[in-house]
Symmetry: C2
Subunit: 218 residues, 2 copies
DNA sequence: TAGATTGTTAATCGATTAACAATC
DNA sequence: TAGATTGTTAATCGATTAACAATC
C-alpha cells in the first residue's frame, strides 16, 4: 500500500540521484555543517537547482526553509528510509571469480543495506573456502540454500555462458530481484526484477562523450 | 566533421542499447542465421519493435527489407564501426585492489575496443607486479606515463578518498575521459568526459523495482 | 526590511509508442 | 497476390528546465 513518501512514489530518475545526494550530505555532515541549500547541492553535483529542489520535495518529510535551506540530518534520514539503508536486506552472490570476489569483498554494500550471506561457485577449488569471511558453497546448492535462507536478491557474476542457468536456479529458490553483471540478456518471468550492470553500455556512452569533446575542439 | 552515421548523431539512449543488440546479433550469427527482423530482436530483449527499428534506422548503412528483415552481418559491422569496436583505444587503470584487478583481468574489454596498457597503484606490495600480464606502476608515475603513452581514457578503481586526486593527475597527464568506479562525485573541467559507475544508484533502482513487485502481489 | 531561497505551475525537451502507408 | 515487415509521421509520455510567487 505504501506510505506517501516511499520508494514507489519516487521516479526512477530521482531514485538514481539519491545515492549521490546521500554521499554529499554525509560529507557535509561530517564536516560539521547543519544545513544545506538546493543551490549548493546542485553546484557540487553539476545538476540543475530546480531539479534538486524537486527531488528533495518528493522525498523530504521536513520542508526546507527559505534563506536557510534544508536540515542535513533530516535529509539523510529521509534518504536512508526511502532507499532502505537502515534495514538490512540479505543477498547471495554467484561466481567467485575476479569480479565476484571483488564485490563480495566490498564492505561498502553494508552502508547500502545489502548483506551478502552466501557465495556460490561451481569450481571445486573455490568451494568451502571463504571470500571476505563469506563461505563459498557449491553452486549445486543454490536452489536449496536460497530457499532456506529466504533470500530475495541474487547477484550474478558468472561467465556469460552460465548466467541464464544461474538466474533460473536463483528464481527457483525464491529470488525476486537479480543484479546481473554478466554480459547477457536474461530471460526471466515478469514478476522478477532484473538490473543489468552493462559495462559495455557504460563504455559506449563514455566513448560518445569523448568523441563529442574531441570533435568540438577542432 | 563526422560522418552522418557516426556516434555523435546517435542519441544517448540508443547508444546504450547498441551493445545489447550487438551481443544478440553475434549470437544469432554464431547460430548460423543470416537475417533478423526488428520484431525478433524486440521480443528477445523485451523492447518495443518500433524502438528497435528506429535505433537500427539511425545506425544502419544497409536498409532492412520488408518481409525479410536486416542482414545480421551488416548490422554487426555498423555497430562495430559506430562504437569503435574494431579499432583499439588504449586506457590506463588506477587501483589494483579487488575491483581494479578484476577489471584489468577481464579480457572481454578487448572486444569493446578497449586495451588497458598500464595499471597504477600506490601500494609498494603491488608495484612492479603484474595483473593479467599488465604491469603495475607506481601511482607517482601517472602524469608522466599517461603523457608518454598518449592515453585518453583513465579508469579509476581506488578508494573514494583518493579518487579526486587520481582524477586530477590523470587529467594533468592528458586523459580526456574518465570511467569512475569510486563512489564519489568527481570535479573535473567541462572538457573532460566522466562516466560514473554508481553501484549504489543501480542497487537503488533494483530495490525500487523489487518493492513494486512485492507490493503488487499483496 | 531586503534578499536568498523555497516550492509550484507552466513550458520545453528528449525519448517512447501508436498509427499507417510503402514494399518486398 | 497476400501478408509480414520496414520506415516515418504524429501522439504520448516522462523528465528537465524556466518563470515566478511565497516566505523566512
Amino acid at each position: 500500500m505504501g506510505n506517501n513518501k516511499d520508494i514507489q512514489n519516487v521516479s526512477k530518475a530521482t531514485i538514481g540521484r539519491l545515492p549521490a545526494y546521500h554521499r554529499y550530505l554525509k560529507e557535509k555532515e561530517a564536516a560539521g555543517e547543519r544545513t544545506i541549500s538546493s543551490t549548493a547541492i546542485a553546484e557540487e553535483l553539476h545538476l540543475n537547482a530546480v531539479q534538486v529542489r524537486k527531488d528533495l520535495s518528493v522525498i523530504s518529510t521536513v520542508a526546507g526553509k527559505p534563506k536557510l535551506g534544508f536540515e542535513i540530518a533530516d535529509l539523510i534520514g529521509d534518504i536512508n528510509r526511502i532507499l532502505g539503508y537502515d534495514n538490512v536486506t540479505d543477498a547471495v552472490l554467484v561466481g567467485a571469480g575476479g569480479l565476484g570476489s571483488a564485490l563480495a569483498g566490498y564492505d561498502g554494500f553494508r552502508h547500502y543495506g545489502l548483506n551478502i550471506v552466501a557465495v556460490f561457485d561451481s569450481d571445486p577449488e573455490r568451494i568451502d573456502k571463504a571470500v571476505n569471511g563469506i563461505r563459498v558453497f557449491d553452486a549445486e546448492q543454490i536452489r536449496h540454500l536460497v530457499r532456506r535462507l529466504n533470500v530475495l536478491i541474487g547477484i550474478i557474476c558468472v561467465p556469460k555462458g552460465a548466467a541464464q542457468q544461474v538466474a533460473d536456479e536463483l528464481i527457483e529458490g525464491g529470488v525476486r530481484a537479480i543484479w546481473n553483471f554478466a554480459p547477457v540478456h536474461l530471460n526471466v518471468p515478469e514478476n522478477i526484477a532484473v538490473k543489468n550492470e552493462d559495462m559495455a553500455a557504460s563504455l559506449a556512452i563514455l566513448s560518445k562523450r569523448l568523441a563529442e569533446i574531441l570533435n568540438t575542439e577542432k
